[in-house]
Point group: C2
Chain length 425, copies 2
């Protein structure tokens, strides 16, 4: 595309976007469709299932409610996530921590400072201040408990929910402790990295004397501003990631896939969800030397459109039994989507981010990849069997290594006046 | 501020912003002023010198020109920066590398793929693809040469410009090789982190066989969307950073402070600039335990308004000789702004970003801080004396450590048809 055509496209886009804005139309993504005019490659896909309409970049997502936010909430652009280890051995301290965290998190997600206390210049500031003047940026804060939370320290061993298992070692795992586990996880997502960092840092500050950070990880997607059409983001391998995500805006689907149900869980966990975190390092340099054919057969999708191989639209149905003229499957059986499909019987809600963490000094290679995060109602029946299958035969394994891991029981939401975990402690 | 007042303010803001947009007014920052309605603290400052008007989040900044872009360009929201070491010893290879980089960089800053070659499915993709469909996001790509570029390998030792000195060791430096130096630096800034990463990665890919990455660093500021008023961003200490930056939109000021002049430089460097990079780790946890009074006297500014101590407006004049009733200077002589002021005689153009890089496994502390970047026409007369003064007595030293360092000669711009460095090679 030459400069002139690009300029024309840009002007056209501005006009349409402005027109939509003036008309008060929210669902820009639906109207512009998958063939957004910003692509530098011509669009070929004809969407059967439209991507979710993008919401405003700024705005407040309610913190209190039946479920915690940040799970079925449409993805924000940035994540700042921390795992904490408790240094206290008093359950009373833990209760106080969650009470303080709850009221701070509710304020922070509204774009307020961490506390409304007035400043005493002779004391450390109440709030660390780096998000002063910034919006709430659709921030969500989600709390989860690791298996170690239920060890002997707090007398809660009997309350450990059955689905909160110890994850098995998967084939080719190279898990490092510094990126794994933790008694408590706090996932902060927002449409601004400074707003997200500010929240996690202030929660860490509140925890002083009771808990310390075990790890902290940052991630990003393209910003909403870079892709106002709200199409499926691409991972650092250049492929769309999340096309097949279940439509959890449908409460029935969310109950089936995401929300912990009473039959498998203690009462305090009903309405919660299990979060899996996997830090997946990509062998970027190796991937970048593989052919487009290899890349597409590895994923089982066309790179540009995101369509399953042999199809033209990103959301076209997977037909895994389709054969080419030579009788070979059009979508290789060991491709990522063929395996992750799990005969259509097992689904998870993916909510991952890319990460870039400089260079690995030992190897001289980029330390970048995917901060894979998913939610499921029972990892024993969803994530674990899926990952066992992927880890054993997925073509993608040639290009990735899992270096961090965690499984956390994300508590149900709290009502205003209550606090996260009030049914447990 | 209670929820209702916050909502009212938000509604008010939307109305004013929309009204301004409809009226076609660009300088929102000028109109909303420093007392933006999104602050969770009431605004107190009355700006004497208005902050620069924010520009559109997306858009294209011309790559070709007298000077490289990304120097006096208004700051974007993200940086992805890499240093390369040459593995070739052929000056011809170096020339070819800069030719390829120039044409790729020009395309990338227009939001195009790295090359217009058509894809051969049997070969690796021409472009790694993760920015497909995204805008150009005001991306700039800026190339610089380190002192090591002028060693014996390419016969260019005689062309090393005098201002490209080896930086001295400053007091309390703890410089690590993995964050320092490099034969060539490439600074990519954009309003989207994925767009910036994509550019640097593809430039690294083009360099294969000629140069390898020595380090890669990412940084962020608040996104433009989080602060549409375009006020001075805050660093991770919660203070406004860059209030005193020179107004380089004035060509005379830029010539005086930023652009290398012929009297001190070889002809090939005229119109270039010297970039200093310092990776400055903040002792976040220590800072967070110090009192507001200590913090403000460390910077010499009020935290909330950004005003010099004793003043009310961020851009109010520094009066370093002002004394309080007890005869003590209102702005401590060892505060950061008092020292960096350098009697008003020495100025640099700061263009820094915050970084967050997880935890330091050795200390269990946050690895976060400032990716300090500045441009100056002669570091011997600007950055070095300023940093010598700061490193010896600045109160801030209690809370920071310089762990990475680099000085680079950023070449002048190229004309269309030419390439970056064409006057040197």
């Amino acid at each position: 595309m030459d400069t002139k055509r690009l300029e024309e496209a840009a002007n056209k886009k501005m006009t349409r976007r402005d027109a939509l804005k003036l008309a008060g139309v929210g669902g820009i993504g639906l109207l512009l469709g998958a063939g957004g005019m910003k692509t530098f490659f011509p669009a070929t896909s004809t969407a059967k299932q439209a991507p979710p309409a993008p919401s405003s970049v700024d705005g407040t997502i309610p913190f209190y409610g039946k479920h915690q936010s940040g799970i079925t909430t449409p993805m924000q652009d940035f994540i700042c996530m921390g795992a904490f280890d408790l240094t206290t051995t008093s359950i009373d301290d833990v209760r106080k921590l969650f009470q303080s965290w709850t009221s701070a998190a509710a304020r922070l997600t509204e774009g307020k400072s961490v506390d409304d206390e007035s400043e005493n210049p002779h004391l450390p500031p109440v709030d660390t201040g780096e998000s002063m003047g910034l919006g709430s940026m659709r921030m969500t804060i989600t709390f989860g408990l690791g298996a170690s939370f239920f060890d002997e320290r707090f007398g809660l061993a009997g309350k450990r929910p059955a689905p909160l298992v110890d994850l098995p070692r998967f084939n080719s795992d190279e898990i490092r402790k510094e990126w794994s586990g933790g008694d408590i996880v706090v996932q902060v997502c927002a449409n601004d990295p400074q707003v997200a960092f500010h929240a996690l840092r202030n929660l860490a500050r509140i925890a002083r004397g009771k808990a310390v950070l075990h790890w902290l990880q940052d991630g990003f997607q393209r910003t909403s501003a870079a892709d106002p059409s709200g199409s499926t983001p691409r991972n650092l391998m250049g492929f769309k990631d999340g096309s097949n995500n279940p439509q959890v805006s449908d409460a029935k689907v969310a109950d089936e896939i995401v929300w912990a149900q009473t039959e498998d869980n203690p009462a305090w966990m009903a309405g919660g969800s299990y979060m899996v975190m996997r830090r997946i390092r990509m062998r970027i340099e190796v991937w970048d030397r593989s052919s487009l054919d290899d890349q597409e057969s590895t994923f089982g999708r066309h790179r540009q459109s995101g369509a399953p191989l042999g199809k033209s639209g990103e959301f076209d149905e997977l037909e895994l039994d389709r054969k080419d003229s030579a009788g070979k499957p059009v979508i290789p059986a060991t491709s990522h989507i063929a395996l992750a499909h799990m005969e259509g019987k097992i689904k998870i809600l993916r909510r991952g981010y890319s990460y870039s963490s400089g260079m690995d000094v030992k190897t001289g290679q980029l330390d970048a990849g995917l901060l894979f995060i998913c939610f499921n109602r029972d990892p024993r029946k969803q994530f674990i069997p899926m990952q066992q299958k992927l880890a054993s035969v997925d073509q993608l394994n040639e290009y990735i290594t899992h270096v961090g891991s965690g499984l956390y029981a994300c508590l149900p939401g709290a009502n205003e006046g209550g606090y996260i975990g009030d049914k447990l402690f």
